[in-house]
Symmetry: C2
Subunit: 186 residues, 2 copies
């Protein structure tokens, strides 16, 4: 079995190939560990947060929204992009939760980060558990369309395990909370 002492690639030059409203595509020249050169295409992403809002009765808030790339309405926990690379992630989570759902939470727990697709994007998401909730006014943009629903955590967990929740961040957040709070799965 092969073994490499150094796996890293070195950037030789970078280029922004497509600078869209949402997607920003870069292509860089790199030096490979074997000394050869190659190109690396990737999506530059500002980073994002997702939030699992847990009510004291064990229900969590999910959103149903149409996702154009997969051409279907899917069930997801609330999430959103940072305003900038330097925005504090917890502040972004509070802002996104308030805007999309009208919920203010007074207890926040960081449940960890993940790269959804490290092969082609630098996007990093942080998962937050939000508790001690009170509901204020939802503040959707005119062109934002989503429906909210409270679901027992146990139902959502069963749905994840049965393959009825295709969204990665929702699967991950639910499975992590199931480990941390096995009482919610009973």
């Amino acid at each position: 079995m092969k073994h490499f002492d150094d796996l890293s690639e070195t950037k030789l030059s970078e280029k922004l190939l497509y600078d869209g409203a949402v997607l920003h595509v870069g292509v860089d020249d790199v030096r490979l560990p074997n000394g050869k050169d190659a190109k690396r295409e990737y999506i530059r992403h500002v980073g994002a947060v997702c939030i699992l809002p847990l009510r004291s009765d064990g229900c969590v808030l999910i959103e149903r929204q149409f996702r154009y790339p997969v051409n279907s309405v899917i069930c997801e926990i609330p999430a959103g992009k940072l305003d900038s690379k330097s925005e504090d992630r917890l502040s972004a989570a509070k802002r996104e939760l308030a805007e999309e759902t009208g919920i203010i939470a007074s207890k926040w727990t960081n449940m960890g980060d993940f790269y959804p697709a490290a092969a082609y994007t630098d996007e990093k998401l942080t998962i937050y558990l939000a508790e001690d909730l009170k509901t204020e006014r939802q503040n959707l943009d005119d062109d934002e369309f989503l429906n909210l629903e409270w679901v027992p955590f146990k139902t959502l967990f069963d749905d994840v395990m049965a393959g009825r929740i295709p969204d990665a961040k929702t699967q991950l957040s639910v499975l992590k909370l199931a480990v941390l709070r096995p009482d919610l799965c009973k």
Copy 2:
């Protein structure tokens, strides 16, 4: 709280904006539920599989490889893209596992699908558990660099929960198997 009877968006026209070696960026005009028009940018992806190879002693095989977009060597389970949209996913999983690791498995279990980033790509991954393993010859491309390592499943599970495994597909596969096989976490 707002409620929408129809959340779907209708495609009006499509355009391939950037057709790279790896990334394919589309931008479509769509009609929103409120009758207004908007643009949707997205990455077209052929689809992928990932494989959790579980040895009879409870160890799983992980890969360490450099991921250029996140500028670090990360720990991942074996994975790869389909050769085409129509390729059978199980066949792709067998091919990728054999090429990257030299492992042939005689027992395969589908552990479900996920969309890593449904907001901007149609990529869908299927997770397979591979068991009853035998090792043959690894067949890496000249420009493919990765190191393989057998790790006790319990160690990997603890690493996921402690935030030491940033890769989404690896987190998801490990957490799902932990639910299905709690004996492996002891």
